[in-house]
Amino acid sequence: MRLILLALLALVFPATAQEDMPAKAWLEKMSQALREKEFKASIIQLQADHIRPLVYLHGKVNNQEVAFLEYLNGPPKNAVRVGNRVTFIEHDEPAYSIVSNHIQGVWPAAFSANMADLEVGYQFVLGGRTRIAGRPGQMIRLLPNDEFRYGFQIWLDMETYLPLRYDMLTQDKQLLEQIMVIELIEFSEPPAILQEAYKQEWPAVIDQAERQDGQNWQFAWLPAGFTVVVRDHHRLIGSHEAVEYIALTDGLANISVYVARAGASPLPEELITRNGLSLVSEKVGNAEVVAVGKVPTQTLTRIAKSLTLE
């Protein structure tokens, strides 16, 4: 009798453990799952009036993370990651590699990183459960701690802890962007295509010599949790305009700040595209500060105004 009770307890225990798990633990499991699981996810990405289907595969070959991302519609466009190198293969350009341990374009990099980094800007709150891609999913809200950033909702697969859906929402709960898994397959060993990718020789990482250090711009104010990740000066695509560049992030929201000589035709003071990307410009003497990012325009305006040169 006692044995039966013990067996019952052992059966029930994992379920209750999941029942009691705080939101942060769920997210940490997600981060771990994204780094360690072997899986294939068929995904659709919704942005404004665009729906883009893509496939993401991830696995570990010889203890190195290997991932493959393919956009299924339109001209072929793929990205392959082996360890710390990501190679982009696109239809109209020769393939090229960069140093990165994340393929940009599916889940935010922060999802597979340290969740504690996000706690400054966001509160993790456990939500309800629902079925996504034929699997039970647990919802976690990432509520912004202030009005300077957008919020997120993530649904995690209750079995694998992999993300099944991800919504980016304004403060009024308007949907800006959504990524949703429609089929998730877990493997016990890396899929053949990833083993092939691991064996292949990819183009060398593009020459790193030319990213020059930027000036020492300082911000008198930044929203809590935002830090400078990159500063340099470079020329913009297309226009070849020289700009001073600073990249800011709080883990989920990324902001670019540019300082350039003011152009002949003024930029709009603020602009919001339908996928939530905002742009503000601020004229300072004969220079122009431009801030771009998926945050409310007020945030960008305030950041642009707080820029000073030391």
Binding site: N73, F88, A109, R211, G238, E270, T273
Partner: protein, 208 residues
């Protein structure tokens, strides 16, 4: 792509190539859709395809690509695939107004992807620029040129903004696009830096 090339791709799918051939192959962008198709065929032969799948989709993608080699911006409607060529020419004409701007940037290998976003985003915005009373917070509409003006009886700023010529409006749109594109591109380049120590700047070239 010649016959020989096709055999390569096929062999690559089956994992029967050496590293050097593979590197050549990966530089040959023409082969990539073939590669995808062979995988699909391989999957089908091994019976690994789910039922009712994507075979049709992949065929229609190939058809779409064949129909339209110069595709640059994403198509809004997949239904075009089977349609005669004429409406697509019209669609192209509309796109070609913007697209050439993005052909100039030889120095970036990356831009095409990014460009698609930017064009679409800003065009959408522009189409509804006069819809100033829109309650949607997602699409906040302001005059595209000049300063933002409150919706009121005061007409000064509006008249002022009408003083801009078409060229200036185009120039402004182009500048907005360059900034948005550069931002998107930086997201791709910066990911290496984001996860590392914050003080360390990963040097990545921005010009060739």
């Amino acid at each position: 792509m010649d016959k020989l090339g096709q055999e390569w791709v096929s062999a690559a799918v089956d994992g029967e190539t050496d590293a050097q051939t593979m590197a050549e192959l990966s530089a040959d962008t023409h082969s990539h859709d073939k590669w995808h198709n062979y995988h699909m065929i391989g999957d089908a032969m091994r019976g690994e395809l789910p039922q009712n799948i994507v075979l049709d989709l992949s065929a229609s993608i190939a058809a779409a690509i064949e129909l339209e080699p110069a595709i640059v911006a994403p198509k809004h409607h997949a239904s075009n695939v089977a349609a005669p060529v004429t409406p697509q020419i019209a669609a192209n004409a509309q796109q070609s107004r913007v697209v050439p701007l993005f052909k100039q940037f030889g120095q970036y290998a990356i831009a095409a992807t990014v460009a698609m976003f930017a064009i679409v985003g800003v065009q959408n915005y522009n189409q509804s620029a006069d819809d100033a009373a829109s309650p949607s917070p997602v699409l906040i509409t302001r005059p595209l040129i000049g300063s933002a003006s409150p919706v009121s009886l005061q007409t000064g700023p509006v008249q002022q903004s009408q003083g801009y010529t078409n060229d200036q409006v185009n120039e402004q749109r182009r500048r907005i696009n360059t900034y948005i594109q550069d931002h998107m591109l930086q997201q791709r380049l910066n990911t290496g830096a984001v996860v590392e120590d914050n003080t360390e700047v990963i040097p990545v070239p921005v010009n060739q």
